[in-house]
Symmetry: D2
Amino acid sequence: MKIRVAVVGATGIAGQQVLAGLDNHPTFEVAALAASERSAGKSYADAIVDRESGIKRWYVAGTDPAPAVMALPVQDAKSLELEGIDLVFAAVESDAARELEPIYARRVPTISTARPHRMEPDVPLLIPGVNLDHLALVNEQKRRRGWQGFIATLPNCTATGMAVTLKALDLRLGIDAVMVTTMQGISGAGRDLPALDIVENIIPYIPREEERVRIETPKILGRLGEGAIIQPSIKISATCTRAGVIAGHTEAVTVALKQPASTDDVIAAFESFGTEFTGLRLPTSPRHMITVHRDPMRPQPRLDRDAEDGMTTSVGRIRPDEVLPNGIKYLLVTHNTAMGAGKGAVLLAEYLAHAGYLRA
Amino acid sequence: MKIRVAVVGATGIAGQQVLAGLDNHPTFEVAALAASERSAGKSYADAIVDRESGIKRWYVAGTDPAPAVMALPVQDAKSLELEGIDLVFAAVESDAARELEPIYARRVPTISTARPHRMEPDVPLLIPGVNLDHLALVNEQKRRRGWQGFIATLPNCTATGMAVTLKALDLRLGIDAVMVTTMQGISGAGRDLPALDIVENIIPYIPREEERVRIETPKILGRLGEGAIIQPSIKISATCTRAGVIAGHTEAVTVALKQPASTDDVIAAFESFGTEFTGLRLPTSPRHMITVHRDPMRPQPRLDRDAEDGMTTSVGRIRPDEVLPNGIKYLLVTHNTAMGAGKGAVLLAEYLAHAGYLRA
Amino acid sequence: MKIRVAVVGATGIAGQQVLAGLDNHPTFEVAALAASERSAGKSYADAIVDRESGIKRWYVAGTDPAPAVMALPVQDAKSLELEGIDLVFAAVESDAARELEPIYARRVPTISTARPHRMEPDVPLLIPGVNLDHLALVNEQKRRRGWQGFIATLPNCTATGMAVTLKALDLRLGIDAVMVTTMQGISGAGRDLPALDIVENIIPYIPREEERVRIETPKILGRLGEGAIIQPSIKISATCTRAGVIAGHTEAVTVALKQPASTDDVIAAFESFGTEFTGLRLPTSPRHMITVHRDPMRPQPRLDRDAEDGMTTSVGRIRPDEVLPNGIKYLLVTHNTAMGAGKGAVLLAEYLAHAGYLRA
Amino acid sequence: MKIRVAVVGATGIAGQQVLAGLDNHPTFEVAALAASERSAGKSYADAIVDRESGIKRWYVAGTDPAPAVMALPVQDAKSLELEGIDLVFAAVESDAARELEPIYARRVPTISTARPHRMEPDVPLLIPGVNLDHLALVNEQKRRRGWQGFIATLPNCTATGMAVTLKALDLRLGIDAVMVTTMQGISGAGRDLPALDIVENIIPYIPREEERVRIETPKILGRLGEGAIIQPSIKISATCTRAGVIAGHTEAVTVALKQPASTDDVIAAFESFGTEFTGLRLPTSPRHMITVHRDPMRPQPRLDRDAEDGMTTSVGRIRPDEVLPNGIKYLLVTHNTAMGAGKGAVLLAEYLAHAGYLRA
């Protein structure tokens, strides 16, 4: 029997990515959908397709909502029926997340793609294949809060791609400081950007994004201590820009390592990273956490974002840096709405199931 | 009587930008045109317009070649008649520049937009308003080489925009190190990029570009010594990428200053920079060498590249850096084919005329 | 003494285009601004610039609001003080236009860029240089309605560019039918399109646009009868799509003429069109109503939209059609937010002043 | 045992699309590769990857050349060894095709994506699922020319998408005239377009494209007569433009039918078309020749080009036309480099195998 999941925020872009990730899933079954009051009471089909005009609001290119999902009723997220639900995917905006996620998590394990609870001491901030040992925090969380379920959060999509590579470096070589300049795609949070702003242009600022990278990265890279994550003292500088790219964040990263390392050392650190996790062969898992390109013209967001179904982080142009001590630099492409959002949430759920955190 | 100039490489994109910059010029008159053997003997109109199809190869959007220029004969660059020419603009590819520029410079002052002679010790590498004191090198050059004319070069367009801001900082606060990630437009050298590569994409590598930034920047920022430029010991790290932007290079710059400085100190350094030069009110001069934006959404290449006719460097998002010692960071937009190429060459020529270097 | 104008909808994109068109105007002085209640009471500067963030909502690239305009108070459009105002530019959304324009027009001549009143029998639908004889309708309008002022409307921007060329053909050769497929830029009404929709894409439908072209074109081409426009019986078929182009509508037009005509006849009709009007040399007037390209690669929106400051209609690829009787076809580029909106409104105002319709 | 094929033009974009279509193919095995003299003698890996820089020239996004293909030697196309080859895919430029294809076809069945032989009376011009009955022409061709093999050609990619829909209409309702305006993607033949031309732009002309549509469409829609295709007398008018879209041609089509038809009649004609062919379930076949959209915002090239792996033609906005007699109009999206090129060639090959034309 499949694990029964509810997807909250099902009409939004993040929720739809989760739904796309759950399509035909071997382990999970979409048993309930929820959204804002406005959609409540409609079938999912009615909630996303305007009858009269025929216009459909489905944002995941190349897929369609599963027929079984189209027929499900959409519940009001504030009164979601949790009976018989084994896991909640909460893919809603910050304000809603702040209010709703604790309601769900009191009873059911809840995976959140939103910001509000990420930095709470007893809430893990997880990237599958990177810091799943932090998951043990949820036991502390349940104990402290007296909850039957828990909240497990996923990081900001920009932080995600970079953290995958930083973890690989930190394990082998140690990290002192990181500088990153991003050129981010417009899917995900950039969706609301007016077209007129981004065509043939670069937008030099994404509100709150640099702060997220600075705050979340150390928690991801931290060490599990007594009921909290002990964050390393890494200096982080971020400049986040938006480019006219549909999906895929490109990030130019410079790292000050704790010890001298050659380009080959760095490649070895990247290519050997995460094999234990990928060896689990979870359904949504990449085959390689990191894919290293030797062609200096790669990675490119349009060509590489979909590698391994958007779940690997593509890295290229690895070379010494001229400024930072023990400095190396590289570019990476990460798929912001795959590993960095809905599919990352599904992969985390697969690990939760694998590791016995669901139906416990 | 106007100063008579020859434009070599007149059918190419850089030469056409020079021609656009010379249109209706109060001081200069286009007296001769030259290009490769293939165009030699034709009128300029015939050289750039295919008679049968009507297709015109003129690359400077928003302008047309002046009728007087259209009627001029195109000479073979290898045998350009220099009699009666006061100044040569050489806007040709590297191989041609290496061979041709010394031929012209033996007799006539020659402004070059190309790479080959930039780093020769007695050749100045000039940005108007930044390091025009280096121009004195040409006296040494003429003496050493026994030439009547000289070569004065302009830097790589990516180096140009950054060097304007670095010079402003160096004058007031001193510079120890610079890190830059660029998102460059496709005009200029990117023109040959196949369309399929850049639409909805970022290209992570531009051959030779990072090297040019690293090598040329210290010479631009150097101090005029005895017959050579004394380069400061500044560490420079560059990552140069191409974005789907027509014109305008966006550069995310982080600088380690020699002393602590507030954001206001940096703004003051930028806003006070270059007033002596802009006060000359040369025809092609910007009114401000640097334009500082307070709106965090600026500068944007599409909105700001044409500010002050593409001759000012637009800067924004000035803020402290978290990694470099005395670090500050900002983004800039520079017009790669205006200040960074043809119009920069015309502005340099205006200064040469002003300072008495022509018809001396 | 200059003519005193009010601009309503001053914070919106259409109103800002009017303001840009009025900058430093020799005849008009911006004496009042109005917008929705939300902006009322603020200075214009405060209404468009967010103090805290510094973010400015000004949509006309390459210009800045005039300092005198920045200092003006923004009035509530519903209670705009009309005392001392000689002309109102109403640049507001349909619902607001329906309600507000009659209030203004009761007392003051009012130029409208909006849809609601365009098709009323006694309201002229005007393109400067095309059908200004229709302006006489306003006398009938004033008489019937007992108003001191009147409403004069401008057409939909897509209809505008095509109608300029159709009028030229109709005058010389007669028109029976028109088929057009458009590839429209995203400025103007496309501004609200989410970025994610249009990057690297074509949107095959623009709500209401095809209908506007079909309904408005015959009125523009009509003949002034007794207190109304007598519309010709021209069949019109339109397919309107949106392309990833910032500004400029490209339109592929096929026309069934009333008589056989060669390509040269058509070129002659285009090039001779409107010289009486352009001969008035009104400040915002194009020098040529229509610019004919022989280069088959033209017109292109990026290269040609700004020709003659966006006020000429650029036409190319004129050739016989294989399907329609007496068919000819061509492509045109028209600047949707210049001649097709704010600057067209200013040009109309210039003609109103010239022809004695203001302060009458 | 698999059918052994040779791919000529293997380093070019069309050849690579064929190779991608043959990857892991159940029926075909890539037994030989050929290209121009320059690549001859190298392994395929060496021919497409620059050793020193690591830069790889592989144009099919989302795929990689199969390892077995990478190891194959590249032969000189002029001396391709045909022994043991059952089928040649010739994916080369026009000049090469004119010379080479007859050499191959003398001995081996040859599928050509190129132009030169398409209009020869005894050479079929085939779209799988549309006019495969024309294939019988090859018997006449072999007889007349005394060849063991034959040439079978595929049409121009723009003609392909439209012809699929026209055939569906012609079968049920009859066609008198067709007018089409295209907005074409830049992959395929647009690949060489300089980036600077197409970003944020529309190019109004594609050399020879409109002529191909006009000439090839009637042959595709024709009836197999005695040793030749009898072409119907359909009037065709085409305007072909290039848009900043990576792949997928969008075409706005208006058709004069031979009889009145409602929108529902047209939808029925489209949805019932080609089921006999798709029922064969050939490996590369679409499930539906035509996919009809009810959402007026579809089809869009970015969202719909990859439907059914790029092999279906997506149609939308079906509605009556106001100008043509019995006129209906619609927009379609066809994948120019899938059904319209390499994968279409593979699908044709699959049918050749199915119908017994190989190894005869």
